[in-house]
C-alpha cells in the first residue's frame, strides 16, 4: 500500500510539469556535460590497466552535409539518445550536489556505454574488459572555457555480459 502510494506520488511529480509546463527554455546557458570513457583490461598480474586514453563518447561529427542536416528533421535517434544521456548526466550531478545519488541515471549511462563498448569491434583476441566513465562539465569563466571533471565512476566490468 505504502509502495503504491509512493509510486503514485512519483508519477504525479513526473506528470505535473508536463501538464503545467514552465516553458523557460534557455533561461541561462548552464554548464554543459560531456561523457568520456576509458577502457581497462587485465594485465599479466591480474590487475586492471587503463589501455586507452579518455575519449569522448560518440562525439559530434566534424561536419554534416546540408542534406544530412535536413534529414534530421525526420530521423534522428542517435542524436536524441545522446541528448537523453546529457539529461542523465545533469540529473546525476544535480543529485550529487544535493548529497544524493541518482542511481537510475547512473545505471542508464553505464548500461548504454556498456552496450556500445560491447558492440564495438575488437582487435585480435582482446580479452573482455572493463571501463570507467567520467562527466566533464564545460562552462564559461570570463573569456575562457573551463572543463571540470565532476564525476568519475568506479570500474564497470564488461565480463558480466559474457
Amino acid at each position: 500500500m505504502r509502495q503504491s502510494l509512493n509510486n503514485l506520488s512519483f508519477l504525479f511529480s513526473l506528470l505535473l510539469p508536463v501538464l503545467l509546463p514552465s516553458w523557460r527554455f534557455f533561461k541561462t546557458v548552464a554548464p554543459s556535460p560531456r561523457i568520456e570513457v576509458a577502457r581497462f583490461e587485465r594485465g599479466s598480474d591480474g590487475a586492471w590497466v587503463q589501455v586507452q586514453d579518455w575519449q569522448a563518447f560518440r562525439p559530434a561529427p566534424r561536419r554534416l552535409s546540408f542534406g544530412a542536416l535536413v534529414a534530421q528533421i525526420f530521423w534522428n535517434p542517435d542524436r536524441n539518445a545522446q541528448l537523453y544521456l546529457v539529461s542523465c548526466a545533469e540529473r546525476m550531478i544535480a543529485a550529487q550536489e544535493e548529497g544524493r545519488r541518482c542511481a537510475r541515471s547512473f545505471n542508464e549511462i553505464s548500461a548504454r556505454l556498456s552496450e556500445a563498448l560491447w558492440q564495438a569491434p575488437r582487435t585480435g583476441r582482446a580479452p573482455l574488459a572493463a571501463f570507467r566513465f567520467r562527466l566533464i562539465f564545460i562552462w564559461r569563466a570570463g573569456q575562457e572555457l573551463r572543463h571540470d571533471v565532476d564525476f568519475t565512476s568506479d570500474l564497470i566490468a564488461l565480463d558480466a555480459r559474457a
Partner: protein
C-alpha cells in the same frame, strides 16, 4: 483559413499521430533501448497508426496516454525535455477533447492546448528578453561555443561571429515575444505559424531537436481554431 472544432481536433490528432509514430520508430529501430522499452514504443507505434486512421480516437488516445505515462516512468522524466512535455500535453488535451461529455468541456481542452502553445513562445521569449546575455548575443554564443546542442563541431565556429549571433538572438526574442499579437488577425497568425515552423525546423537542423518540430506543429490547428472562435469568424 479557419477551422471548425471538429476539423481542428482531427488535424491535431493526425499531426500528433505523426509525431508519435516517428518517436516510436526511433526507439524501436534505433540503438540504445532494451527489449522492454522497444516493446513499449512498438505499442505506441501501433496505437499511433490507429489514430492516423481515425479508429476510435477516444479509446486509442486513452491507450496512448498510458504508454506516455509509462515512458515518463521508464526514463525517470522526459526523454527529450520540452518536446516530450509538449507532446504529452497535446495528447492529454486531445484526449480530454474527445472524452469530455459536453462540447463546452471539449472546447476548453483544445483551447488549453492552444493557450499553452502561445505561452510556450511568450514565456520563452520573455525570459530571454530580460536576460542581458541574450540581449547582447553572449548567450547564443555560448550555445554554439560549448553547449551539447550543435550537431557538428563545424557549427561551433558560429560562436566567432558576434554580429550574426546578436541578430539571431534578437530575431528569436522578437519572434517569440511578438507571437501572441498574431492572434489579432487570421492572416498574421498563418504567417506567425509558418515562421514558427521554420524556427523549429532550424532548431532541428542545427541542434538536432527534431522532436520539437513535430510536437509543436501538432498544436497549430488548435490555435487556428481558437482564433476563429475568439474573433467570431
Amino acid at each position: 483559413m479557419s477551422l471548425d472544432f471538429d476539423q481542428a481536433r482531427r488535424l491535431c490528432d493526425l499531426l500528433l499521430a505523426v509525431a508519435l509514430v516517428l518517436q516510436a520508430l526511433e526507439h524501436v529501430v534505433g540503438n540504445g533501448d532494451g527489449p522492454r522499452t522497444r516493446r513499449l514504443f512498438a505499442a505506441q507505434g501501433v496505437f499511433s497508426v490507429a489514430l492516423l486512421g481515425g479508429l476510435a480516437p477516444a479509446v486509442v488516445l486513452s491507450a496512448l496516454l498510458i504508454t506516455s505515462c509509462a515512458t515518463l516512468w521508464r526514463f525517470n522524466g522526459p526523454y527529450n525535455g520540452g518536446s516530450d512535455k509538449m507532446r504529452s500535453l497535446a495528447l492529454f488535451a486531445l484526449w480530454l477533447a474527445h472524452v469530455l461529455p459536453t462540447r463546452g468541456g471539449q472546447e476548453l481542452a483544445l483551447a488549453y492546448l492552444a493557450a499553452q502553445l502561445v505561452l510556450s513562445y511568450l514565456v520563452s521569449g520573455w525570459i530571454k528578453l530580460i536576460n542581458p546575455d541574450w540581449r547582447s548575443g553572449a548567450a547564443l554564443r555560448d550555445v554554439f561555443a560549448y553547449s551539447a546542442y550543435p550537431v557538428s563541431e563545424g557549427l561551433r565556429g558560429w560562436a566567432q561571429h558576434p554580429r550574426l549571433l546578436w541578430a539571431m538572438s534578437w530575431a528569436v526574442i522578437g519572434f517569440e515575444v511578438l507571437f501572441p499579437l498574431t492572434l489579432l488577425q487570421p492572416r498574421a497568425l498563418l504567417w506567425g505559424l509558418a515562421l514558427a515552423a521554420l524556427f523549429h525546423a532550424a532548431n532541428a537542423c542545427l541542434f538536432g531537436l527534431n522532436r520539437f518540430f513535430w510536437a509543436w506543429i501538432a498544436a497549430f490547428p488548435a490555435l487556428i481554431w481558437l482564433q476563429a472562435r475568439l474573433l467570431g469568424l
